[in-house]
Subunit: 268 residues, 2 copies
């Protein structure tokens, strides 16, 4: 779960990552693949739930920044890249039935249905790249582990069956770096944007910062404060709580590599 601040790949690297996932050559996490390119979280839902989930994303743009939504049954996502087939172009999927994880395939063509709608949601890799480009430390990348994530006492805005608590990711920073990180990440509203909280974790219902609900704990050093961003795990946890009869997501860290460029996501 790391992003690479170094060389920026051409769009060919993004397309190659998808082709490698399609052919079965790539089955692992996508961190560091096609640096500079936007990666996306995936949720695939039956059409009967799609309108409500779209409404949920519209109401909760910080945890659910929707980059693209497909037509029902159509595996293409032309806004995100040339020739995408969402049934094959992610290295590993998770298939859920009635809220239970039933399989982790590398291809979902055999279970595809004409009523399935794909939602592609922005991912923190994009703003972490901007932080690293600004010389800001990203602790979980330094430590080579997953970002720590926490369920909070902040409710999301419900839509239809979808509701539940906001999940946040945390990166510890010195105060001056936290201020700069707010400036840098505010430029990227379509990939979670500015933090939602800084400082005292108990104010957002986090009892023990050393015990994240998802991911790994990271060190918080003297003089640092925890900085919390809305997290793309929120829609996954919200979808899981609805226990839809059928649903497909990406496996954690196994994202869709898109043709979009991170730097082009900046609003100013």
């Amino acid at each position: 779960m790391v992003s690479n601040p170094g060389a920026r790949g051409s769009v060919e690297l993004a397309r190659q990552a998808r082709l490698d996932a399609r052919s079965g050559k790539l089955t692992g996490p996508t961190a560091n693949l096609a640096p500079g390119h936007v990666q996306a979280n995936l949720a695939i839902l039956p059409r009967a739930l799609a309108a409500d989930f779209l409404h949920f994303c519209q109401r909760n743009p910080k945890p659910c920044p929707l980059l693209a939504m497909s037509e029902p049954g159509d595996p293409a996502l032309p806004e995100l890249g040339h020739d995408i087939d969402i049934r094959t172009d992610i290295p590993r999927y998770r298939v859920w039935k009635n809220g239970e994880l039933v399989a982790e395939p590398t291809d979902v063509r055999d279970i595809w249905r004409d009523d399935l709608v794909s939602f592609l949601i922005g991912c923190s890799f994009s703003f972490e790249e901007a932080m690293l480009d600004n010389g800001l430390p990203v602790r979980h990348i330094e430590q080579g582990c997953n970002v720590p994530m926490y369920r909070t006492s902040i409710p999301t805005h419900a839509a239809g069956a979808f509701s539940g608590p906001l999940v946040v990711s945390m990166r510890p920073l010195k105060a001056a770096d936290a201020i700069r990180a707010i400036q840098v990440t505010s430029r990227f509203p379509s990939v979670h944007g500015a933090p939602v909280h800084i400082g005292d974790p108990s104010l957002i219902g986090i009892a023990d910062i050393g015990r994240p609900d998802y991911g790994d704990p990271v060190e918080i050093r003297a003089g640092e404060m925890p900085v919390f961003w809305a997290c793309g795990v929120t829609p996954q946890s919200v979808v899981a709580s609805v226990r839809p009869e059928f649903c497909i997501t990406h496996a954690p860290g196994h994202m869709l590599v898109t043709d979009l460029v991170n730097s082009r996501m900046a609003v100013f």
Copy 2:
């Protein structure tokens, strides 16, 4: 020391405020006069010190955002407004000799010299107006007192004889409001811009947040964090420490009301 988020005056109100100061009709603080217009701090120094002070401002743009510098001996400031006479257009001045306050006149024409250079420096009124416009609370305005200010352990960048600690102003905010305040005030680099510190005061050498070095203490409520901005008192305290043989400043709160508009100071 309050700014008015309400009706925005025309430039005529700014000019009238200066004419009232010039005629002696206005001798009090300028808060709430000509809402929407930029107000400025003043330091007038002999030419022999001007180059170093300009360099100090250039090296320390956050506490010393220089809006305009006059020609030696020239009381006009055409960048800041039509027909300004800096010798008369501020309601009350402070005159310093060898670092000692010797007078607080309402007019300095009788002590004007051909070697005097005026420095006009941005003021927090501008970004406070933007905060209020964004629905953010400004505690000292709510409490009807002066903003609390503190000498810190953060050094300024010295230039010639000018050096000394950064002085900061503090406004307490809830975390989500602090994040928004960072976004809002980042747009105004020419009037102090983004905060320089958030959270633990001891990290910047403030021993007791309840005892400011200048201004008045304000309440910090449960769930709020102190947010610190570089303060225009910094150049005044730095100038005072140099003890120039002659120097004129504005009396606290008695600012130059300029023709510039706060909203036009925003960089994006």
